[in-house]
C-alpha cells in the first residue's frame, strides 16, 4: 500500500518539527561547541531551561549543596539572594504566621535536601494532623479519580507507549529498543572504522536497514517478526503512519510523541539531523539519511518489541494503557509505585507478591492498606522537613502547628514553587558577584602616550586561554597584544597538502567562498606509499581476522609501542618523531587566478589525463605520446575537431576505434566542455582578489583598533592543541576556525598584509602600515604554551637580528604561563620553576593516558569587548574572551556588529556548552572519558553501546567530582557609549534575543558618561561606574 503524497509530506513535516529542539551533533573531527538548548533560545533562559529539563530529562542548574559551597567560598552575592527572595515573596499571598523570608533564606543556604517532596496523596489536613502528632484520619477515603488523573499524566500524552509499559511492568523495552537502534546506526553511519560495511548503503538508511532487518534471523527467532511490519508499507513515512495508527496514538499528539522518541537518543538524532542538513558532507552524499529514516527504524523496532510483550498479556497500545487506568486503577497504581521505585520500602514485597498472584481482591486489599500508609508517610515526612526548616530559621514550631489548613497549603505551595526556581536565583546571585568583582577592577583611564612604538605587536585569538599568555607576554618586555577572532576575519576553505578534502576554517555560522591550496616548495612526498601503509595497518587492526592471524608475527611491535608510550612518553615521542618524515615547507596559493591562468591549468590537467588514458588503454609510454596527438585528442573530445589523424596513424587504429576512444575520453575521463566549465568554476574559487585581500586586512586591523603605530614585528597567533589518544582534541582547538588549528588563517592574513599592493591600498584608506612592519604567522599551542613562529624564510634580512630577542621573549612568556597553569593540572598542587613547569606541561601533551591534557576553555565567564587597557590591570585567570575594540574608529558600528555576529555568538555557544556540561554532565555532557570508545570515527560512546555522547567530558569541567568550571552565563562587557552599543545590539537580531532573553548578561561600560548599563528584568539600568568600584585586594582578584 502506498501513502498519498500529501500524507507523506505531512509526516515529513511532523518529524522535521519534532526534531527541531534537538541540537546538532557535528563530527568530532572538528568539534563545535554549541548550546545544547540552542533551539530554545527564542525563550527566556529560565523557561528554556525548564523546557530543556523536560525534553532531555536533564538538570538545568547545579545541586543546592554545590551552590552552598560557592556561598561559603564567597562566590555568591548574599544580598542578591535576599533581594530575589523578597521579589519572589512579593508576588505571593502573605502568610503572617511565619517569617517566610527567613525560612526561604535558610532553605537556600542551610538545608541540603529539598524541603517539599512530591506528594500525591497527602492533603493539607493530613499535614496538619502530622504536625500535631496525629495519624491522618482514615475516614477520608482516597479519591480514586485523583489517582487516575495522576496516572494519566504520568503514563499518557507524549510518553512513548513502551516507556509506560516499562514503568508499569518493569520490562526493559526502552533499553532494548535503544540498543537495537544504536546497533543499526553504527552499521549504517560507519565512516571507515569497520572493514566490512553494511550492504546497500547507497540507497539510504531506511532502505539499507530494511534489507538487513528483513533477513535478521536473531530478531525473527525471538518473535520480533519485523517482516510483518515492513510488509505494511515500502516508504518510511508509510511505516511511521502505520506504526502510530497501530499504537493508537491520537494524531494531535504525534509531533510531541516523535519528539519524545527522538530525544531518547538525542546524540544520534542530532547527528542524523546535522548530517541531513550538511549538503556538502561527503558521507551524506554517499550514504544519505534523515530523521524520517531514523524515526521509522525506531518505531518499527518499538512496535516489534511491544508485540513481543503483548504475547505475555501485557498492553501494547495507548488505548490498552488507557483502559488499564480506567478499569484497573488500583493495580495500575501499585504497578507504577513498584516499578518506578517510589513504593514504600516496607510494602515492596507485599505489593510485588499481590501483583504476581494477580488476585483482584488481594490487590485491592493491598492497595487500600498501601494508600493509607503512603498518605501518612508523606504527611509525616513533609511535617518533619518543615519542622526542621522552621527550627533552623528560628521560627516557632507552634506557628506551624496552629496554622490553618489553607495557610499550610499556601506555605507548601510557596516553598514548592521557590524550590522549583531556586537554581535560577543561585545563578543570578553568582553572576552578580562575578560582575561586581570584574567592575571593581576595570579601568577607563586612557592608555599612556608611548615614546616609541612597541617592540612587538601580537594578535591572539579571543579564546580565554590567550588571556594568560598575553598577560605574561606583556610582562616580559615591550609587547603590545590584541584580541581578535581566531580566524582573523578570513573565512577560508583550505585544502592541505596531500589531502583531497577541504576544511572550513571559520565559525560554523559562515560558509567560506574562497579556497586556499597549500603547495609544497620541496620534493613531493610519496603520498601513495604512505597511505597504502596506513591502510594496511588499519585493516590489520580493525578486521576480524587480521589480529587473529598476525598477532604472533607482529604483535610484539605494537607491544613496544605501548610500553614506550606508557613508561616514557616524552622520550619515546622524541625518539619516534625522528622516523616521521616532516612536512615539507609549503606556500599557500592565495591570489586569484586570472582567466588565462585558469584556462591554462584546465588544459594542463586535461592533457595529463589524456596521456594517462592512452597509457592505460593502449600501453603507450609517455615518450611515445606526442604533443600533437594529445592536442588532437583533447580537441576531438571537446568537440572542436572531427578527426584524430596522428592518433590513428601512431596506433594504427580504424576510424571506429579512434571514435570509440574519444567517446571514452568524454564519458569516463570527463573531457567535455561541460566538465571544463565546472573545473573553471572550481578554479575561480581559489584565492582572493586584491580587493578582497585589502578588505580582509583592513577589517581585521580596524576591528581591533590597530590603525597606526605599527611595530617592526606584528605576530599573528593562531592557536591549536596537541594531545595523544584524545578524541576530544579538536574541542581544544580554535572554535573560530571550525575546531581546527588557527595557523592557516594566520598565514593567510600575514601573506596578504605583507603584500606591497595591499599596503598601498590600505594607506589610501588611512591605515599606514610602516615600511619595516612585518607580519609573521605563529601558533600558540594551548596544551604546552609553546609560541612558535612560522614562514620565517620570508622574513626580510633587516629583521633577522631581532629574532633571538623575540624568541627569548616568547619562550619566557610560555614558561611563565606554564608555571601559572600547572598547579591546576596536577593532583598535588606543587609549585614549580617556570622551566620545569614548561617541561611537565609538554609531557602532558604526549602522554596517552592523560585524560586532561589541559583545561581548555573551562571556567570561561566573561567576554570583554574593548581596549586592552580596560582590563590590563586585572588577572583574569584565563576566564575571559578578550576582543580588542575601539569604538572611536567605528563610528558606523559596523565593526561592533561584526564582533557581535560572529565572535560573541561563538563565545556564547562555548559558554553554554560548558554551562550545561557542568550542571548535568551525564545528560548534557559526555560523562567520563575513561569509558569512551570511538564510534564510527565521528563520535564517542560510553562503553561499547550508548547514545553518541554530546557535550564535554567530565574531565574538562569537573575536578574530583565537583565543578571546576563555574557555570555562569556569559558576562559580556562592552566598552562603548550606551547608545552606540545599544544600537549595535538592536541591529544584530540573534544577539538582541540573546540579551533580551537573558542567555548572556550584558554590561555596557560607557566611557564618556562613566556609566555602567545592564539589562535586567526587561529594562536597562544605569549606574555610575564609580559607585561600583573600590580597590581590589589580591584575594578578591583571585576570586574572579
Amino acid at each position: 500500500m502506498s501513502l498519498p503524497l500529501g500524507t507523506k509530506l505531512k509526516i515529513r513535516s511532523m518529524i522535521y518539527i519534532a526534531g527541531e529542539p534537538i541540537p546538532y551533533f557535528w563530527p568530532m573531527r572538528s568539534f563545535i561547541h554549541h548550546n545544547p538548548l540552542h533551539a530554545l533560545e527564542h525563550l527566556p533562559f529560565k523557561d528554556a531551561v525548564s523546557e530543556g529539563e523536560r525534553l532531555f530529562h536533564g538538570r538545568g542548574y547545579l545541586p543546592r549543596t554545590t551552590y552552598q559551597g560557592y556561598l561559603e567560598q564567597g562566590k555568591v552575592d548574599h544580598e542578591h539572594l535576599r533581594q530575589d527572595i523578597k521579589t519572589f515573596l512579593s508576588t505571593r499571598d502573605n502568610i503572617n504566621d511565619i517569617d517566610e523570608e527567613r525560612c526561604l533564606m535558610n532553605l537556600l543556604t542551610k538545608t541540603t535536601q529539598p524541603v517539599i517532596q512530591d506528594h500525591s496523596l497527602a492533603s493539607s489536613a493530613d499535614l496538619k494532623a502530622a504536625f500535631n502528632g496525629q495519624v491522618p484520619t482514615t475516614d477520608t477515603s482516597i479519591n480514586i479519580e485523583q489517582i487516575k488523573e495522576s496516572l494519566r499524566q504520568k503514563l499518557q500524552g507524549d510518553r512513548p507507549v513502551y516507556e509506560a509499559i516499562d514503568a508499569l511492568y518493569g520490562t526493559e523495552i526502552g533499553k532494548e529498543l535503544d540498543e537495537l537502534v544504536i546497533k543499526s546506526c553504527l552499521d549504517f553511519f560507519d565512516e571507515g572504522q569497520s572493514v566490512w560495511g553494511m550492504p546497500e548503503r547507497e540507497q539510504g538508511f531506511f532502505c539499507a536497514w530494511r534489507e538487513v532487518a528483513s533477513c535478521n534471523a536473531k530478531l525473527f527467532v525471538r518473535g520480533k517478526d519485523i517482516n510483518k511490519i515492513l510488509e505494511a508499507n515500502k516508504s518510511p513515512e508509510g511505516i511511521i503512519c502505520r506504526v502510530m495508527e497501530t499504537l493508537q496514538i491520537p494524531e494531535e499528539n504525534w509531533v510531541a510523541y516523535f519528539t519524545s522518541e527522538l530525544t531518547r537518543l538525542h546524540g544520534w538524532a542530532g547527528f542524523v539531523r546535522w548530517r541531513a542538513s550538511a549538503k556538502h558532507y561527503y558521507w551524506n552524499e554517499k550514504y544519505p539519511a534523515d530523521l524520517v529514516d531514523f524515526a521509522a527504524v525506531r518505531l518499527i523496532f518499538a512496535l516489534a518489541l511491544l508485540k513481543e510483550q503483548a504475547r505475555k498479556h501485557i498492553p501494547s497500545t495507548a488505548s490498552e494503557i488507557s483502559n488499564l487506568i480506567e478499569n484497573h486503577a488500583e493495580e495500575t497504581y501499585l504497578r507504577y509505585e513498584l516499578n518506578s521505585g517510589s513504593v514504600l520500602p516496607a510494602f515492596a514485597v507485599q505489593v510485588e507478591q499481590a501483583l504476581a498472584i494477580g488476585n483482584k481482591k488481594r490487590i485491592i486489599n493491598v492497595f487500600n492498606k498501601y494508600v493509607i500508609n503512603k498518605r501518612a508517610h508523606e504527611a509525616s515526612q513533609q511535617a518533619k522537613r518543615l519542622r526542621q526548616l522552621a527550627i533552623a530559621a528560628d521560627c516557632k514550631i507552634e506557628a506551624l502547628k496552629n496554622m490553618s489548613e489553607d495557610n499550610l497549603a499556601k506555605l507548601v505551595n510557596t516553598f514548592s514553587d521557590f524550590e522549583k526556581q531556586e537554581g535560577y536565583t543561585w545563578l543570578r546571585a553568582m553572576e552578580s558577584h562575578a560582575m561586581s568583582q570584574l567592575l571593581k577592577g576595570v579601568s577607563l583611564q586612557p592608555e599612556p602616550k608611548r615614546e616609541k612604538r612597541p617592540f612587538v605587536q601580537a594578535m591572539f585569538c579571543i579564546d580565554t586561554r590567550s588571556e594568560r599568555i598575553r598577560r605574561h607576554l606583556e610582562s616580559v618586555g615591550d609587547y603590545q597584544t590584541f584580541g581578535i577572532a581566531g580566524f582573523f576575519g578570513i573565512p577560508v576553505s583550505f585544502m592541505e597538502l596531500g589531502k583531497g578534502s577541504q576544511s572550513h576554517l571559520c565559525p560554523v555560522l559562515l560558509t567560506p567562498k574562497n579556497l586556499v591550496l597549500e603547495m609544497s616548495v620541496a620534493e613531493q612526498l610519496d603520498v601513495n606509499a604512505a597511505t597504502a601503509m596506513k591502510k594496511a595497518v588499519h585493516e590489520l587492526k580493525e578486521s576480524i581476522f587480521g589480529p587473529f592471524v598476525t598477532v604472533e608475527a607482529i604483535g610484539i611491535l605494537f607491544g613496544f609501542d605501548m610500553l614506550g608510550k606508557t613508561l616514557m612518553p616524552q622520550t619515546y615521542h622524541h625518539w619516534r618523531s625522528q622516523f616521521k618524515k616532516k612536512k615539507p615547507p609549503t606556500h599557500m596559493l592565495l591570489d586569484k587566478l586570472d582567466r588565462e591562468q585558469a584556462d591554462s591549468i584546465v588544459r594542463a590537467v586535461q592533457r595529463a589525463v589524456i596521456v594517462q588514458a592512452v597509457h592505460q588503454e593502449f600501453k603507450l609510454e609517455t615518450e611515445q605520446v606526442s604533443d600533437g596527438m594529445v592536442r588532437e585528442l583533447r580537441e576531438a573530445s571537446l568537440g572542436k575537431l572531427n578527426d584524430t589523424v596522428v592518433f590513428k596513424q601512431t596506433l594504427k587504429l580504424s576510424n571506429q576505434q579512434a571514435k570509440d576512444f574519444v567517446k571514452r575520453l568524454q564519458d569516463v575521463y570527463r573531457i567535455t566542455p561541460a566538465f571544463s566549465r565546472i573545473q573553471l568554476e572550481q578554479l575561480a574559487r581559489i584565492g582572493f582578489s586584491l580587493d578582497e585581500q585589502v578588505n580582509f586586512v583592513s577589517q581585521a586591523l580596524r576591528s581591533i583598533g590597530m590603525t597606526k603605530e605599527f611595530s617592526r614585528f606584528i605576530l599573528l597567533f593562531g592557536h591549536g592543541s596537541t594531545s595523544d589518544n584524545n578524541p576530544y582534541e579538536s574541542a581544544l582547538d580554535c572554535g573560530a576556525c571550525g575546531g581546527n588549528h588557527g595557523l592557516v588563517n594566520a598565514r593567510a592574513l600575514a601573506q596578504m598584509a605583507n603584500k606591497a599592493e595591499v599596503r598601498y591600498r590600505l594607506r589610501k584608506q588611512g591605515i599606514d602600515i610602516a615600511e619595516d612592519a612585518w607580519f609573521i604567522p605563529a601558533l600558540h599551542n594551548t596544551t604546552t604554551d609553546e609560541l612558535k613562529l612560522y614562514d620565517l624564510d620570508r622574513l626580510p634580512s633587516s629583521h633577522i637580528v631581532y629574532i633571538d630577542r623575540l624568541r627569548n621573549g616568547l619562550l619566557s612568556a610560555s614558561r611563565l604561563c606554564a608555571q601559572e597553569r600547572l598547579p591546576s593540572l596536577q593532583i598535588q598542587e606543587t609549585p614549580r620553576e617556570p622551566a620545569a613547569a614548561y617541561r611537565e606541561i609538554e609531557r602532558n601533551s604526549m602522554d596517552w593516558s592523560q585524560v586532561r591534557p589541559e583545561w581548555g576553555l573551562s571556567r570561561n565567564a566573561y567576554f570583554i569587548i574593548g581596549r586592552r587597557a580596560l582590563t590590563h590591570e586585572l588577572t583574569l585567570e584565563g576566564r575571559a574572551f578578550l576582543h580588542s575594540y575601539d569604538y572611536r574608529v567605528d563610528t558606523k558600528r559596523r565593526l561592533l556588529e561584526n564582533i557581535l555576529t560572529g565572535p560573541l555568538v561563538v563565545g556564547q555557544w562555548i559558554n553554554m556548552e560548558h554551562y550545561f556540561s557542568t550542571v548535568d554532565n551525564e545528560r548534557f555532557g559526555s560523562g567520563s572519558k575513561v569509558y569512551h570508545n570511538v564510534a564510527d570515527r565521528f563520535g564517542v560512546m560510553t562503553g561499547n553501546l550508548s547514545d553518541l555522547r554530546t557535550g564535554l567530558p567530565s574531565q574538562t569541567v569537573l575536578n574530583k567530582g565537583l565543578p571546576y568550571h563555574e557555570p555562569l552565563r556569559l558576562i559580556t562587557v562592552m566598552e562603548a557609549p550606551f547608545e552606540h552599543a545599544k544600537q549595535a545590539i538592536e541591529a544584530v537580531v540573534t544577539v538582541k534575543y540573546l540579551v533580551y532573553n537573558a542567555w548572556i548578561r550584558l554590561l555596557i561600560i560607557d566611557p564618556e558618561e562613566q556609566l555602567v548599563c545592564s539589562y535586567e528584568n526587561g529594562e536597562w539600568i544605569k549606574r555610575p561606574l564609580s559607585s561600583l568600584q573600590k580597590p581590589v585586594s589580591p584575594e578578591e582578584a583571585n576570586t574572579l
Binding site: Q113, G341, V343, P345, E352
Partner: protein, 254 residues
C-alpha cells in the same frame, strides 16, 4: 520409620515443597537475631536427624534435592528482596548438601554446613542495616549504594561473592567437592549443578546491580550513613578467616 526420618530431614535440609516451611518462617521472622539463629541451626538439625539412621539416601531423593536446588536458584533471578534472596539461596545450597550425605560423616557435613551458612548470616546482618536505613532491603529501590555507602557496598559485594561460591571461599570448595563426588555416580548431575551455580551467580549480579550501581537516593530518614570503619574491618576479618579456613580445610578434606 526410615522414610519418616528422611522426610523430616527434608524439612530441615529443605526439599521442595517442605522447604516452604523454612522460607515462610524466615520471611515471617523479622528480627535479625532470630533470623541468624534460624540460619545457623536449621541445616544442623537436618544433618543431625539424617545421621540418626544408617540408611543410604536413595537416588530419587538426590534427584529431588537437585530439582529443589535448581528451582530455588531459578526463582532467585526474579527476587528483589535481600532477605528472601538469602533464604532462597540458603535453601538451594542446603538441598545440594544431600549429594554429600552418602559419602561423608556427620562432623564433616556439619562443618560444611557451618562454612557455607556464614556468608548467609553476614548477608542477613547487612540486609538489617539496609532495612534500618531505607525501610527495606529491596533491590532497585535505593540504588547507588557505592556512592552513598562505599564501605558497606564493598562488604556487600564480597559477601555476595562468598555466597555464590566464588573461589577461595568455603562455598567454592564445597561446590567443588560436591561436583567431584557426584561425577562418578550421577554424571548428568554435574551439568545440573553447573547450571545451578550459574544461576546463583547470575542472581547475585542482578541483586548487586539493583543495589550498588546507579544514582544514590536519600534514605527514609534523610541522610544515609555508612557502616563504621571498625565494623567493615570486622566483616573483612571474618571473610579473611573464612578464606583461610576454607583453604586449610580443603587440604584436610582433600
Amino acid at each position: 520409620m526410615q522414610d519418616m526420618t528422611l522426610l523430616l530431614t527434608a524439612l530441615f535440609l529443605p526439599l521442595f515443597p517442605l522447604s516452604m516451611v523454612f522460607n515462610a518462617l524466615f520471611t515471617r521472622i523479622q528480627h535479625v537475631a532470630l533470623r541468624v539463629i534460624l540460619l545457623a541451626t536449621w541445616p544442623q538439625i537436618g544433618l543431625a536427624i539424617l545421621f540418626t539412621t544408617d540408611t543410604a539416601v536413595p537416588t530419587w531423593m538426590l534427584t529431588w534435592a537437585l530439582i529443589t536446588a535448581l528451582l530455588y536458584a531459578f526463582r532467585m533471578l526474579a527476587l528483589r528482596d535481600v532477605g528472601q534472596w538469602t533464604s532462597f539461596l540458603a535453601t538451594s545450597w542446603w538441598a545440594v548438601l544431600w549429594l554429600l550425605a552418602t559419602d561423608h560423616n556427620q562432623d564433616t557435613l556439619q562443618l560444611y554446613a557451618i562454612g557455607l551458612t556464614i556468608p548467609f548470616i553476614l548477608l542477613t546482618l547487612l540486609s538489617a542495616n539496609l532495612i534500618k536505613q531505607f525501610g527495606a532491603a529491596y533491590s532497585g529501590l535505593h540504588g547507588g549504594l557505592a556512592q552513598s555507602m562505599p564501605r558497606f557496598s564493598g562488604v556487600l559485594v564480597v559477601v555476595i561473592l562468598a555466597s555464590i561460591a566464588t573461589p577461595l571461599f568455603p562455598n567454592f570448595f564445597i561446590m567443588l567437592k560436591i561436583i567431584l563426588n557426584t561425577s562418578s555416580a550421577m554424571p548428568i548431575a554435574i551439568l545440573v549443578l553447573l547450571v545451578i551455580w550459574l544461576l546463583w551467580s547470575w542472581a547475585g549480579v542482578r541483586l548487586l546491580q539493583g543495589l550498588i550501581v546507579g544514582t544514590a537516593k536519600p534514605g527514609s530518614e534523610g541522610e544515609v550513613s555508612d557502616i563504621k570503619t571498625a565494623t567493615s574491618w570486622l566483616y573483612a576479618l571474618i571473610l579473611i578467616t573464612l578464606v583461610a579456613g576454607s583453604v586449610y580445610f580443603s587440604g584436610v578434606f582433600a
